[in-house]
């Protein structure tokens, strides 16, 4: 009997997602495994995402034999682990018996005379494509492996020059994987795997100039759950393009008073939605200071809207404001974004998720957007925005 477990963190949001998952058809899959008979009474762990929701399932192998059954929407990237340790560490990572593959609807066979690592996995179309891409990666992987050995040797000898050269070559090898992927996407517009690779490279805000690339996927691929999600992001980007009326929001300030965007009509508004403490956070706060200095004489209200993390108390908001020198209007939408995506109406209207934050817009005196999808790490942004306000 399989015990279906869903990540605790995601269980909270599952109820929110249930509607959207359920509204897409779910298909049955069966995984049949036959590995070495020595794998007996050991735990086999399966993890995958069903239309964005993490699912974990486990069973026990008997004489190497195991079965999983479940439902999926889109083909799902999955990982199988045989006899996983309680915790993955740097020391045991190499000895893990894990294997990544794709679950398509229907039957998947995992067979081999040893563990999962070396097994042959036969499934549907996406798994076949995944295996094909793996073959394309092989020469690069071989070179990376040998470079790793070389670098370790150079390190021992203290040969910095040779080490730097090997590292440069390593970067060039990694760059090749990007080329392999973009060619794969181009050559396989009807593969869900192509969409999956493409989407992993566009996790943040989708800029409209990427839409022609997306349009090249087959209609079958575009009509998947993931495809529709991406299309919705493009549609949202159009609603947030310069010239459009900025969506209304009503949020609380530090004194607990509600402030609406429409109440600021007649003034330009620079609004930045953020969740604190990401990489280069200090450079980000400094740049907001620059923007504030550049816009302060231009009839502009500067607004930062805080999104928290589940593990931080709400008081972390005030700490963040003080530490970051945000001496302008501060509003919060705590709980508006969580690990599953946008929750509040403001987050939905502006397409805010942990992947797209921080996100800022410049809104004109008439409430229409002057600029969106701003590059907040660009030191020249303040000047560009100042020029947009007459």
């Amino acid at each position: 009997m399989n015990i279906l477990k869903i990540n605790i963190r995601l269980a909270i949001t599952l109820s929110l997602l249930l509607f959207s998952v359920a509204s897409f058809s779910q298909n049955k899959f069966t995984i049949k495994g036959q590995l070495s008979p020595e794998i007996n009474g050991k735990k086999v762990l399966l993890s995958y995402k069903n239309n964005g929701v993490s699912v974990e399932d486990s069973t026990k192998a008997e004489m190497g034999k195991f079965t999983f059954k479940g439902l999926i929407g889109d083909p799902a990237y999955a990982r199988i682990s045989v006899d996983p340790p309680a915790m993955t560490t740097m020391q045991n990572v190499k000895s893990l018996d894990v294997r990544d593959f794709f679950i398509d609807a229907g039957e998947i066979l995992i067979t081999g005379s040893a563990g999962a690592k070396t097994a042959v996995i036969k499934g549907g179309k996406t798994q076949t494509d995944y295996q094909r891409r793996f073959e394309l990666y092989k020469p690069v992987q071989a070179r990376v492996d040998s470079l790793n050995t070389l670098i370790a040797g150079y390190k021992e000898k203290g040969d910095n020059k040779a080490m730097d050269a090997a590292r440069l070559e390593m970067n060039a090898e990694f760059a090749k994987t990007g080329k392999i992927d973009s060619n794969f996407i181009k050559d396989n517009p009807n593969s869900f795997l192509s969409l999956d690779i493409w989407r992993s490279k566009h996790r943040g805000t989708l800029r409209s100039n990427f839409e022609p690339e997306f349009k090249r996927f087959s209609s079958e691929v575009k009509n998947t759950f993931a495809g529709k999600e991406i299309q919705a992001k493009f549609d949202l980007a159009k609603k947030l393009a310069p010239g459009q009326l900025a969506p209304e929001f009503k949020l609380k300030d530090t004194a607990g008073n509600e402030v609406s965007l429409s109440s600021l009509r007649g003034k330009n508004v620079f609004v930045c939605f953020y969740a604190p403490d990401f990489m280069n956070y200090d450079a980000f706060t400094f740049n907001l200071g620059r923007i504030n200095r550049a816009l302060k004489d231009k009839n502009t209200v500067m607004v930062t809207v805080y999104y928290g993390y589940a593990d931080r108390p709400d008081s972390y908001w005030m700490e963040t404001i003080n530490r970051s020198n945000f001496n302008w209007m501060n509003l919060n939408d705590i709980g508006g974004v969580n690990n599953a995506g946008s929750v509040s109406s403001t987050a939905k209207a502006y397409g805010l998720t942990y992947y797209t934050l921080p996100n800022a817009l410049l809104i004109g005196e008439d409430g229409k957007i002057l600029a969106s999808q701003l590059k907040l790490n660009d030191t020249g942004l303040a000047q560009e925005l100042a020029q947009l306000i007459k």
Binding site: R290, G380, Q383
Partner: protein, 175 residues
Amino acid sequence: MATTIMSMYAQTPKREYLDVGDTINTYPKVEWIKGNAISKFDPSKIYIIDLWATWCKPCIAAMPHFNAMASKFKNRGVVFIAQDVMEGDRQKVLDFVKANDKMMGFDVAFGGGKGSDFEQEWIKPAGVSAIPETFVIKGNKLLWQTSPDMINEAVIEMLIKGDFSIEKAKKSITN
């Protein structure tokens, strides 16, 4: 009025901010280890100041390009300065400059490590958190804070001609 306030501001010992568009008259106190020492910016000249350190590999990788620009434009009123920052080992910097003399045909200054005048007057006010970073100054004004790969011939020609804007410069890079 604004200019008066700004220039007064620049003379106060500690500058709070250094933003694009701000007036800048004086060069912080540094040790000039190669080329011509300056303490004040000449309003008739263009200054391209590259912040680097001996430990910063991308900075060193950008030097041949910086050198090529310097040899091409230094007789046309453009001053190229490689300003060493974020390290305190003076001898290490001197050794590096000596060893790479041919690659460094421009003025070189050593800023000193933590708490140095350059850090107080420039790095902190301009919000420099990573290097390389390049500053363009003309007519005693900070025109651009950017990265060394954004400085090409077309950009320098714009600066000389007087029709420079950040927008135009960025376009010349992407084209």
